[in-house]
């Protein structure tokens, strides 16, 4: 008959895998935060919590990351804003308003777009967007928050489009006939019935896009210019929290400069954790509107 010993062994192996895996998974989430704080402590001792609120001025001994916080948001928010409209329009096109022959290819196009790595988007941005911005902007080298924002919008769109598209299709299935039979056109049904009903999925998509926009490194690193400042014009350059971590890593391990990257890391951790929790809470609300 069956080899009982080997069956028991496989069961045991599986059980071990399960528990080992879970412990790893659970441990990691906290160890990341703890490790970051632990390593950041020596630097916090010097500047205290002011590191989050100060501006960067090495001459005066100030290593605050406020300029990075500002730049992260000045790049992420417009990107999500533009990306939202682009993605919603595209998703509506693919789900309902588009011509029969264009609907399926448009989804295939988005699938391809989502397979393109961030680094390739950033790379293309360096050679196509930066010169373009350099030409239309009166000042600057082209490496600017505008370049980064534009490419970021393009980067987060495929994910948002998929989210919006899935929610709209689901909503369409149940509500389309009900709307049409009352004399509504396809677009009226879409705008007045389907989209309000898909609100949850749409909010989720926005949060996801926001998370990606704040957390993306390569695009801000390669396109935004990396100067530590408070860029006011879209053609100026700036440095985000993520880019700062990537750039300072090569510095002296004991300098206060170095400590600032842990401050960035902790801040990014907290922001994305809050976004994750918020997006989950919003998704749980019921679908009545």
């Amino acid at each position: 008959m069956f080899n009982l010993k080997s069956k028991a062994k496989s069961d045991l192996l599986l059980k071990f895998t399960i528990y080992f895996g879970t412990i790893c998974g659970a441990a990691v989430i906290f160890s990341i935060l703890i490790l970051l704080i632990f390593l950041g402590i020596p630097f916090f001792k010097e500047s205290g919590l002011s590191i989050f609120f100060d501006t960067w001025n090495p001459g005066k001994g100030k290593y605050g990351i406020l300029p990075m916080i500002y730049t992260t948001f000045i790049i992420a928010v417009p990107a999500v804003f533009a990306g939202f409209f682009l993605s919603l329009g595209f998703a509506c096109f693919a789900a309902s308003t588009g011509h029969r022959f264009l609907k399926k290819p448009s989804i295939a196009l988005i699938r391809t777009a989502s397979a393109i790595p961030t680094i390739v988007y950033a790379f293309i941005g360096v050679f196509l967007i930066v010169p373009f911005i350099r030409n239309i902007g009166a000042t600057g080298s082209g490496y600017s928050i505008l370049s980064a924002s534009l490419m970021l919008a393009l980067l987060i769109s495929p994910t948002m489009i998929f989210f919006f598209y899935d929610s709209i299709i689901k909503s369409l299935k149940s509500l389309k006939t009900g709307g049409l039979v009352l004399g509504a056109t396809k677009t009226e049904t879409l705008l007045y019935l389907v989209i309000p009903n898909a609100k949850n999925g749409i909010y989720s998509g926005i949060f996801l896009g926001m998370g990606r926009a704040i957390g993306d490194t390569m695009i801000s690193l390669m396109l935004a210019g990396n100067s530590i400042s408070f860029p006011l014009s879209p053609f100026e350059s700036g440095r985000t929290l993520t880019a700062h971590i990537g750039l300072v890593m090569a510095a002296d391990y004991d300098s206060p400069e170095f400590g600032s990257i842990f401050a960035c890391g902790i801040l990014l951790y907290l922001i994305t954790a809050v976004l994750s929790i918020l997006s989950k809470l919003i998704y749980k609300k019921t679908g009545d509107y």
Partner: protein
């Protein structure tokens, strides 16, 4: 006469559902349609407002002419606007399908459309209340108009669906087994409603109950073996 159906054929996935149907629906009368399950009663209704076009693998042959807006219209003509046709030829489904919003918003919905009946905005609320009274639902929901429509019972939802269809002010209204999920009292109310309504609309009703048909219908069509027989 309101509708003339000539030699109508309906195919779904290449299977004939309806064969060579020729009928006349009289104006301002209640016409009942009966037949066994799956005989094609709902299909016939879907033809009258071209709803079948929203489904795949459907094919139709023949002609249907309806007298709408004081003109005879060939409803299969390419120039006919579908939303307009569907507003004129309303349909209430067998299973109530309230929109996932409040009762009030459900009823306001037809007013937001391009095909909405021309009513002044200050009269909208009165229009809604009148229609709710017509379907004998007003007393039951007047205190909770802002509650979600999904909180109503099945019978109430059905009456809400009928009210919503009536708000669009159709000339023809088709109801697919409107009282099958209602208790006898609600059923009686709906039957009274339909009898009053026929002065304004032409009513086509699918029903399984012979008693109901005898009670309220002026004409009776039976669908059997893919053809229609006008019984009276």
């Amino acid at each position: 006469m309101k509708i003339k159906i000539n030699n109508l054929f309906f195919k779904y996935k290449n299977i004939n559902i309806l064969k060579d149907i020729s009928l006349e629906i009289k104006k301002n009368k209640i016409t009942a349609i009966s037949g066994v399950s799956g005989a094609g009663k709902s299909t016939l209704l879907f033809c009258l407002n071209r709803l079948y076009e929203e489904f795949e693998n459907t094919k139709v042959k023949g002609s249907i002419h309806s007298f709408l807006d004081n003109k005879w219209i060939d409803i299969f003509d390419k120039s006919v606007s579908l939303p307009w046709l569907r507003q004129k030829t309303g349909l209430v489904f067998q299973n109530p399908n309230p929109f996932p919003m409040s009762i009030e918003k459900n009823l306001y919905f037809p007013f937001r459309l391009l095909t909405a009946p021309k009513i002044k905005s200050k009269n909208l609320k009165t229009e809604i209340i009148t229609t709710l009274k017509k379907v004998h639902l007003y007393e039951e929901v007047k205190s909770r108009l802002k509650m979600p429509a999904s909180s109503l019972s099945g019978g109430q939802q059905q009456r809400l669906s009928i009210a919503r269809a009536l708000i669009a002010k159709p000339e023809i209204i088709m109801l697919d087994e409107p009282t099958s999920s209602l208790d006898p009292e609600s059923e009686k109310k709906i039957e009274t409603l339909l009898k009053e309504l026929k002065k304004e609309c032409t009513i086509i009703m699918v029903s399984h109950s012979m008693e109901q048909i005898k009670r309220i219908s002026d004409h009776h069509i039976k669908i059997e073996n893919k053809t229609a027989y006008q019984l009276y």
